[in-house]
Amino acid sequence: MIWNEPKECMSRDEMHHLQSARFKSVINRVYHNVPFYRKKMQQIGIEPTDIQTIEDIVSLPFTTKQDLRDNYPFGLFASPKSEVVRFHASSGTTGKPTVVGYTRKDIEIFSEVVARALACAGATKEDTVQVAFGYGLFTGGLGLHYGAEKLGAAVVPISGGNTSKQLQLLQDFGSTVLASTPSYAAHLSESMTESGIDASKLPLRIGIFGAEPWTPALRKKIEESLEITAFDIYGLSEIIGPGVAVSCKAQDGLHIAEDHFFPEIVSPETLQPLDVGKTGELVFTTLTKEAMPLLRYRTRDLSSLNDSPCQCGRSNIRMAKIYGRSDDMLIIRGVNVFPSQVESALLEIPEAKPHYQLIVDRQGTMDTLEVQVEIDDKCFSDELVQLSQINKKIKHHIESILGISVILKLVEHKTIQRSEGKARRVIDRRV
């Protein structure tokens, strides 16, 4: 089902007009309400009247996470506090948290785009949605919650963690949709096997997974083990939260709710806009946000855009599945390494499981990359010779994909921390 056909299927021309009109009004809003943006625009000599169409966006400055931190907590708000009805914030593990605010209309749009995403995945008001994203300052839990309610589905607001309760409610409530991080879905499926629960007997049919990068191979693995169809939901709190984009049944990219969030792809090095189809850093401008509109926000996520028609019938532009973050990229001995490459490599080896951790270190002047992989039933042998053969097989496969040598370390089952939020895959001891 297409939740909002007029907006999700409009022609490229109509979309262009709508985006241009909304862009002009958001420029007015930030110019008159956010000193940070007014100053930036004045510095480069741009007045709101200079902005005529969405193409004029290229003349505007970027916004970064650092700008949000510098203006902590409410410096970038464009609405008076009396209009704000909710706050969310990032975890702030790498500095001050970044705070975002929502007016009542912002929450309505947030719910609308999540409802679109759920409908795009095939959910209807008949469904029961188990929201296993964390509730709280993180946008995942409440975002999915409001969107599922807007759709008319029944919400199980269990939040993240508490795996045995998750399994119990999946069975007892007969949840048909699971919303969580992909690594937590993988963990749930593993726990299901351990508790002897037969996934095929559960009514669960749809998975909405996001908040961390994951590979098509992991999607396939989760789909097979949980016997569901899995969809990728993308979002970030700075822009609104989950629902900025979602994959459809064609599984060929994620449709962006571009009537609300205007996407660009730029080169992470030069910041020059790149053509449709080219890979670079994803940048969003909010077109309708009231409380905290952002211009050209650099997501650090790497993707590409595709504006060709989609077989699902939606005309909204698609972004490719995120294949990494420009700031997650590790440079080891001069080679670019993404944690997702290791995950893909592991999923291609039947003996390995995708539970891994990367430890980057420096010995003398030499960078080392240690890949810790958990031992699995399929690869554990009582003979050292066989274990070392499996060790070598995994090592060679990872090395052939990364192009650098790695230290492969088999570790005991369940010694790598399972994430109930975002998985921490990399420990960089060089910094």
Binding site: D376, D377, F380, S381, D382, E383, L384, L410, E412, H413
Partner: protein, 130 residues
Amino acid sequence: MIIQQLSVFIQNESGRLVNVTEILYDAEINISALSIAETEEYGILRMIVSDTEKAAEALRANSYKVRITDVICMITPDVPGALNKCLKSLATEGINVSYMYGYSNGGKARLIMKTSDPERAAEILFPPIN
């Protein structure tokens, strides 16, 4: 005779063996033979225990990866050449011994060996008495 051996994957770190033996103690499992094959990072702990299934279950419940394997258990006289004689008879038949461990006490030697073909090895080592 052919008996069952329990193998456990453990990291080569202090305290890991304590943890395994603690779990077996709690499950009231007695260990009658044991050997460790180790690498720099991990080890394989191989044991003959009083109740293999129960021990495996207790370890699995604590997230250990375990494997149950058929091995040969034999008793030889504790004299020079006894082991050599057994191994020769296996080698003649092309049976490979992957690993073995044992001890001698009171005039007898007890040996555990993992072979490429446990059933054939048992036939060779313990011929039926006619």
